[in-house]
């Protein structure tokens, strides 16, 4: 009976995973925010259902109450985690949160099946605690602008940490890449990965010159060498690929890509000649059946598992994954294929690819070079790690002993991957903030130009006050945190940094009352005529709360003036935005204060608004 349940529930998993995997890619299609929100909710539903059924099957088979307890705690934990992300970081990428949770769920389920007491509880404890701890990471990344200045600190500390295994190291599975600190064992390679990418990004993010590039590559080569000496071939390969690709993107010169690849081939050949460990791995890869009970044991067992799982899998608890050595960490993919089937496993790969594309998009969206490189480095390291892990398990490439991110057992691996997700959320929010700044800047510039035409004297003062740069204006925007903070003090005041003049600009929006879309987030659409062409598709997302707060403070402000009809635009895609918002841009007024520049009076502003309504702001019908 149980066997039957296990087999049939498998078909449900496969069905759900296929849908989930498809939704990974459809989110990149342009669509309305409500559909987008629907996708997110569906994803969430599927993953909780998957989690529920899996633990149901596990309980039916083991009749162990620990399974039930673990399930309940996990389900609550995931719900809380998603809730916290949505409320602490309303601007975060919801799909990334979903992916993170789903991968962890798959990992927990497989580990509970392989060894509840040995693996699952410990892994959940570590992942649970640390996913709460890394909640501060996005905030930290967003705020800590000094991160880019640490440069050499990353390199030197990272290298030192990496080398610490030579002093307090431990050998596990032929690789000396663990350190023991009392009862805790760590894999420095996983943590140094982060500092390593920060190092490269901070070095090459500044104006790169040849000397700087060479210095950076020397340091990176040192990292790779240490890893090779520790017999951590997967790590060495990962670090190497990350460096040459980041170097290529930072310089735009193919010479680094090909030169690096050439150097890599030479280094690989040298390693092959000099390190027997490398030769063994290679020999096992080329013919695992030459020594199926000795060196090739792990590889052949993995292939048996994959082969006997087939397309649809043998059903959760129906396989024999424990026959594969190190199945919980490096070879978990084989266990997944055996029990959940190859279709499920391929969908899992597709989810990883979806995350990679998402990471890459964040890297492409963010303008700041430092964050751009960080985003790119993490996307490459993430996807390449998946490639090494999966490829090694299915004998596509020699096995390098790399974990499958968030699914494999391993505290260091899961902590560092969670941190990477946190950092990427931070970069995502930075990209979003930049985006928003641009919106405001453009809107401000439109107003600025117009005002200047009408009231040259005043605007000159305005311009002088801001050093002629429009960058300051965006802080008036109601949506950004800075804006609402300032707004709470005195309507919408300028950011303190740029408060050189008392001139004020008010831009606000109105929320459309649409009940079916009345979710927690809204969108701000501001543009002007030129921008409509140039920047079509730009938009920004705001939490409901932020908007409401901004609106309140606007209406309470004494400067409430006329209004200009706004318009809507097609949403942009993946922001996880929920609900559409109709925008009106409220009148912009400027006030004269002692010591400030001359400003426009209320009447002047009204004139301006009328004029602008016809000239600068497009109505939805025109669009």
């Amino acid at each position: 009976m149980i066997k039957l349940i296990a087999e049939w529930s498998n078909y449900i998993f496969i069905f759900m995973c296929v849908i989930y995997a498809i939704s990974c890619f459809t989110v990149f299609l342009p669509s309305s925010p409500s559909r987008q929100a629907g996708r997110m909710n569906r994803q969430e539903f599927f993953m909780f259902l998957f989690h529920f059924i899996c633990y149901g099957v596990l309980f039916a088979v083991t009749k162990d109450h620990m399974v039930l307890i673990l399930y309940v705690i996990q389900a609550v934990f995931f719900k809380v985690l998603i809730f916290i992300y949505q409320h602490v970081y309303p601007d975060c990428s919801r799909i990334m949160v979903n992916h993170m949770c789903f991968l962890m769920m798959i990992g927990f389920v497989m580990l509970s099946r392989i060894g509840l007491k040995e693996y699952a509880i410990k892994q959940f404890a570590i992942a649970g605690v640390f996913s709460l701890i890394v909640l501060v990471v996005p905030f930290f990344v967003e705020k800590a602008i000094w991160l880019r200045r640490l440069r050499w600190a990353y390199g030197i500390l990272g290298l030192a940490f990496l080398m610490s295994v030579k002093v307090i190291g431990r050998t596990v599975n032929g690789s000396t890449n663990w350190i023991a600190l009392g009862p805790i064992t760590l894999q420095p390679m996983e943590f140094v990965k982060i500092s390593y990418i920060f190092f490269i990004a901070s070095m090459l993010g500044r104006r790169p010159n040849f000397k700087r590039i060479m210095l950076t590559s020397l340091f990176c080569a040192a990292h790779v060498m240490v890893l090779i000496l520790e017999n951590d071939l997967g790590g060495a390969l990962l670090y190497f690929v990350v460096f040459i690709l980041m170097c290529y993107v930072a310089t735009g010169r193919l010479v680094y890509l090909f030169g690096g690849a050439g150097a890599g081939v030479v280094a690989g050949w040298l390693a092959y000649m000099a390190r027997p460990h490398v030769r063994t791995r290679f020999a096992v890869w080329s013919d695992p059946f030459a020594d199926p009970v000795g060196k090739g044991y792990q590889m052949t067992q993995s292939l048996f598992a994959i082969g006997s799982g087939g397309w649809l899998g043998r059903g959760l608890t129906q396989g024999s994954p424990y026959l594969i050595p190190v199945v919980a960490s490096d070879f978990i993919f084989a266990a997944i294929v055996e029990e959940l089937g190859a279709v499920f496993a391929i969908c899992l790969i597709l989810i990883y690819i979806g995350i990679f594309i998402h990471f890459l998009r964040i890297a492409m969206d963010v303008e700041d070079r430092f964050y751009k490189l960080i985003g790119y480095g993490f996307s490459i390291s993430f996807i390449f790690q998946v490639f090494l892990s999966v490829g090694g398990v299915i004998k596509f490439i020699p096995s390098t002993g790399v974990t499958l991110p968030l699914v494999s057992y391993g505290g260091s691996s899961v902590i560092s991957t969670l941190a990477i997700f946190g950092i990427m959320q931070g970069v995502f929010m930075i990209a979003y903030k930049e985006d928003q700044e641009e919106e405001y800047r453009e809107a401000g510039a439109a107003w600025f130009d117009e005002t200047r035409v009408r009231d040259g004297g005043y605007m000159d003062g305005f311009r002088d006050g801001y050093g002629g740069e429009m960058t300051g204006v965006h802080y008036y925007g109601a949506g950004s945190k800075a804006g609402s903070k300032a707004g709470s003090e005195s309507g919408f005041g300028p950011d303190k940094k740029t408060m050189k003049s008392e001139n004020r600009l008010y831009i606000n929006r109105e929320r459309a009352v649409r009940k079916e879309e009345g979710r927690t987030q809204g969108r701000l659409y501001i543009s002007r005529e030129e921008a409509g062409k140039k920047k079509a598709g730009r938009s920004a997302v705001h939490s409901d709360k932020t908007i409401r707060r901004s609106e309140e403070s606007l209406y309470n402000s004494p400067d409430k003036t006329g209004r200009i009809p706004g318009y809507e635009r097609v949403s942009r895609g993946d922001r996880g935005g929920q609900g559409k918002l109709k925008i009106s841009v409220f009148g912009a007024g400027a006030k004269t204060r002692a010591g400030g520049s001359p400003g426009a009076d209320d009447k002047g502003v009204k004139d301006l608004e009328e004029k602008r309504a016809g000239k600068y702001w497009k109505s939805p019908d025109d669009f």
Partner: protein, 522 residues
């Protein structure tokens, strides 16, 4: 921040508290060649030209390709390799499956049970082999490791194929263990029995017989001697292992490598035909004693036989070594090597049992003195009986080699067919015209040559004998031939090798004759 005109295009819209590239050296000297200023290649592009996003997208292409190939690899593994991999005796999963499943049967095509698992009242399982040692090598054994079809079909035998309702019934109400699928082989019990009996009757201690259908590739019989009763193998294991000389466990049909002797002349004759479309011009005067050809001393059978002045057909029919050696030294060596490669030498043959690669050592650079011995099948060439039968089956089937197979179909415990093997072409090895000429030659062997014992049969037999010299021992006796009811037809190919039994015509031909007789006795 300095005061700049906001309309100035050079004014970056970004705040620039962070240094940006853009004033690199390369922007100044756009006209100069990269060859004159190689360092330009290394100088990072200026900010506007860097196109980071573009480059990121470019690097996404290899990543996607890599994953495409990765998934394709997984898919092809599951489609084509998984079954064979899983059948490995090292797969402990199969042993575990054996706990829930009773091993299926192995049968001949005409329904004779070759292997069956009996279950007694205490639920102990015994694997029985009703036909005893006759099918020992091809069926194999399932204890003490595995071999033969028991090994290669392990996965099928342990896989129950049940209807859902039955499955539910079993799961809900419990019940007996389910039975694995049964494997129906292409073997024909009559032919197998006759082949085995003839070998025994002729007192052959070591040797092999392969019989197959040239038009489909179905293997009808596979006998390898010495044999053993598979039911005793467990008890006598240590003794069998200790006795290295007898090589009881070796399946000689697929793993025995023998010098092909004169049977190899078929390929020499074919190459000669290709280079000389009209072989009527060929003539050779076979005199007493030996002759030196390409600095090698050659003689015919026993060193005594003489054939006189003979043409091409007589040379083949009477198996004149000297004539073939002189024919071979003039062949285009590289074409000849290519021919051997086409005929599956040094290549693994795809079959339901693992087949050893036949060896052919001549290369395009080999010296002429190696050719005469090779041409008469001595030299360093070695061939498996199955391979030799396949070459003859290509001749018999008008040049088309069918893929040999042993598994007719897989049926479930209720007898419903799970899957069936369809005959498949392996390769076209010669043209129809070439095949017809080869058929004439092989017929001449029976009509007027070394296999004349088959001349008066009711069927039309063709073939080639061989006598493979072995150092200090009686030579191996070969016959590989086919038979049909009339000209241009072929129903069965038989390959016989009897180790250390004398000339081909004396031993192997009559054995093959008995098998043909049995085949046509219906």
């Amino acid at each position: 921040m300095t005061s700049r005109n906001p309309g100035d295009p050079a004014d970056s819209p970004r705040r620039s508290d962070y240094p940006e590239a853009g004033q690199g050296k390369d922007t100044k000297d756009k006209s100069s060649s990269v060859f004159l200023r190689p360092w330009l290649l290394f100088t990072p592009r200026s900010d506007r030209k860097m196109r980071s996003n573009h480059n990121m997208l470019i690097t996404m292409i290899p990543v996607m390709l890599l994953f495409g190939v990765l998934i394709a690899y997984l898919v092809q593994f599951l489609l084509f390799k998984a079954e064979k991999t899983v059948a490995s005796p090292y797969n402990r999963r199969m042993a575990e499956a054996g706990k829930d499943v009773i091993r299926g049967d192995i049968l001949t095509r005409d329904g004779v049970v070759l292997a069956h698992t009996d279950v007694d009242k205490e639920n102990n399982e015994y694997r029985t082999y009703p036909e005893g040692s006759k099918y020992f090598h091809v069926v194999g054994y399932a204890s003490r490791g595995m071999s033969g079809l028991e090994l290669s079909q392990n996965f099928e035998l342990l896989t129950p194929h049940q209807a859902l309702s039955e499955k539910i019934e079993k799961e809900v109400f419990g019940g007996d263990k389910s039975r694995g699928n049964s494997v129906v082989t292409t073997l024909d019990s009559r032919i197998q029995k006759q082949a085995w009996k003839s070998m025994k009757d002729w007192g052959i201690k070591k040797g092999a017989v392969v019989a197959l259908e040239p038009s489909t590739g179905r293997v009808l019989a596979m006998v390898s001697l010495p044999d053993y009763d598979p039911e005793d193998i467990d008890a006598d294991w240590d003794q069998i292992i200790a006795d290295e000389g007898s090589s009881v466990l070796l399946n000689r049909t697929v793993s025995g490598l023998y010098p092909p002797g004169s049977t190899y002349k078929t390929l020499v004759a074919l190459e000669y035909l290709r280079e000389h479309p009209d072989p009527g011009d060929f003539s050779y005067d076979c005199k007493d004693g030996s002759e030196v050809i390409a600095s090698v001393k050659m003689s015919c059978y026993d060193g005594q036989e003489t054939h006189g002045r003979i043409g091409f057909e007589e040379a083949y029919a009477e198996s004149c070594n000297k004539a073939f050696a002189s024919m071979a030294v003039d062949l285009n060596l590289s074409e000849f090597v290519k021919l051997n490669e086409e005929f599956l030498f040094n290549e693994s043959i795809d079959f339901d049992l693992p087949v050893k690669k036949s060896r052919f050592k001549l290369t395009r650079q080999s010296s002429k003195s190696q050719i005469p011995q090779t041409a008469i099948g001595q030299g360093e060439t070695e061939i498996t009986p199955l391979h030799n039968a396949l070459i003859m089956s290509a001749v018999a089937n008008d040049g088309v080699l069918m893929k040999p197979y042993l598994i007719e179909k897989v049926v479930d415990s209720q007898g419903n067919t799970v899957k069936t093997t369809k005959p498949r072409e392996y390769d076209t090895l010669m043209t129809g015209a070439e095949a017809r000429k080869m058929q004439e030659l092989t017929r001449a062997v029976v009509e007027s040559g070394t296999a004349s014992k088959l001349k008066d049969a009711d069927y039309r037999a063709c073939g080639k004998t061989g006598t493979a010299d072995v150092k200090d021992k009686t030579p191996h006796s070969w016959f590989v031939g086919y038979a049909g009811r009339s000209e241009g037809e072929s129903d069965i190919v038989v390959c016989v090798i009897a180790e250390n039994s004398g000339s081909g015509s004396r031993v192997a031909v009559p054995i093959a004759g008995e098998i043909f007789d049995e085949y046509y006795s219906e």
